[in-house]
């Protein structure tokens, strides 16, 4: 049984952002989990073909994609801290930095897509590439939506629409962006590295 002193010193547990965003994140994670497991099961059926197809992917590009997303996530998280300290100008700049970092991801990914397409390794080439295009393409669409959200939040910061007391919308937007990171850290080893 807790004493009153223990109750007083216990930290207050708080879920950042809107509860609806968390349910949305859980739904998105469930869809991605099904796709990732489908990829892993298909790899089990034909591991040699998967290992051979993976040779067409450059893991150093995968690493660069990862670092650009993670850096963008850091800038977005730091922006939330600035809003909490009532420094919306800095928060807006950090969100623009997050947007810029995510642009690196988009350029690298489009370059990779173009390279694979030029080699004839499209959606119908084999099972590996069917799943590669579906899985990474679905994630890419989430990145694009996240970038729109980052831009929207940067504009809201410029208009000083948030305050240290009222910034739940920004927390939710940034949580969505971290979910995109979270999915990628599982996708990256499975698609690019794990034979």
């Amino acid at each position: 049984m807790s004493t009153s002193a223990e109750v007083l010193t216990r930290p207050v547990r708080r879920l950042p952002g809107d509860l609806a965003m968390w349910f949305f994140i859980l739904a998105e994670l469930t869809v991605f989990a099904l796709l990732i497991v489908a990829f892993a099961v298909t790899q089990l059926l034909d591991p040699a073909m998967f290992a051979e197809s993976r040779q067409a992917l450059d893991s150093s590009i995968g690493l660069a994609l990862t670092l650009s997303l993670l850096t963008s996530g850091l800038f977005a998280a730091l922006a939330v801290e600035q809003v909490r300290a009532d420094r919306q100008g800095r928060a807006g700049l950090l969100l623009l930095a997050a947007l810029l970092s995510s642009c690196v991801y988009v350029v690298l990914k489009l370059n990779e897509y173009g390279h694979l397409a030029s080699l004839g390794l499209g959606l119908e080439h084999n099972r590996f590439f069917t799943l590669y295009w579906i899985l990474t393409g679905f994630h890419f669409l989430h990145v694009l939506l996240g970038m729109v959200i980052l831009g929207w939040m940067a504009e809201r910061c410029r208009r000083r629409a948030y305050s240290p007391q009222h910034h739940g919308g920004m927390e939710s937007g940034v949580l969505y962006w971290h979910m995109v990171d979270l999915v990628w850290v599982l996708l990256f080893p499975l698609v690019y590295v794990l034979n």
């Binding site: 968390w22 850096t71 850091l74 990256f188 034979n195």
Partner: protein, 85 residues
């Protein structure tokens, strides 16, 4: 430690673990290496949920739910790898 320092620390950890993933991947394709790569991915997921998403301050149920997601996927992939061997 300030919240910003925690975030930068998480990013550093994530960057180092990402480089580790590529190095492990280029070292070969044994079951042990595969399991280690998945463990590294779990560590990265934990840094994102607890650090970036601030779930370290959240109710336990939500922390468990978000940690269960990468754990479940990693377990399924490891089981499939064992079956493949």
């Amino acid at each position: 430690m300030s919240a910003s320092k925690v975030l930068v620390g998480c990013w550093l950890g994530l960057a180092l673990l990402s480089i580790t993933t590529v190095l492990l991947g280029s070292a070969g394709s044994t079951l042990l290496l595969g399991g280690t790569i998945l463990l590294v991915a779990l560590g990265k997921a934990w840094l994102i949920t607890e650090g970036f998403m601030e779930l370290r301050h959240a109710p336990r149920l939500w922390r468990l739910l978000l940690l269960a997601w990468p754990l479940l996927i990693a377990l399924i992939v490891i089981l499939l790898m064992l079956r493949g061997n």
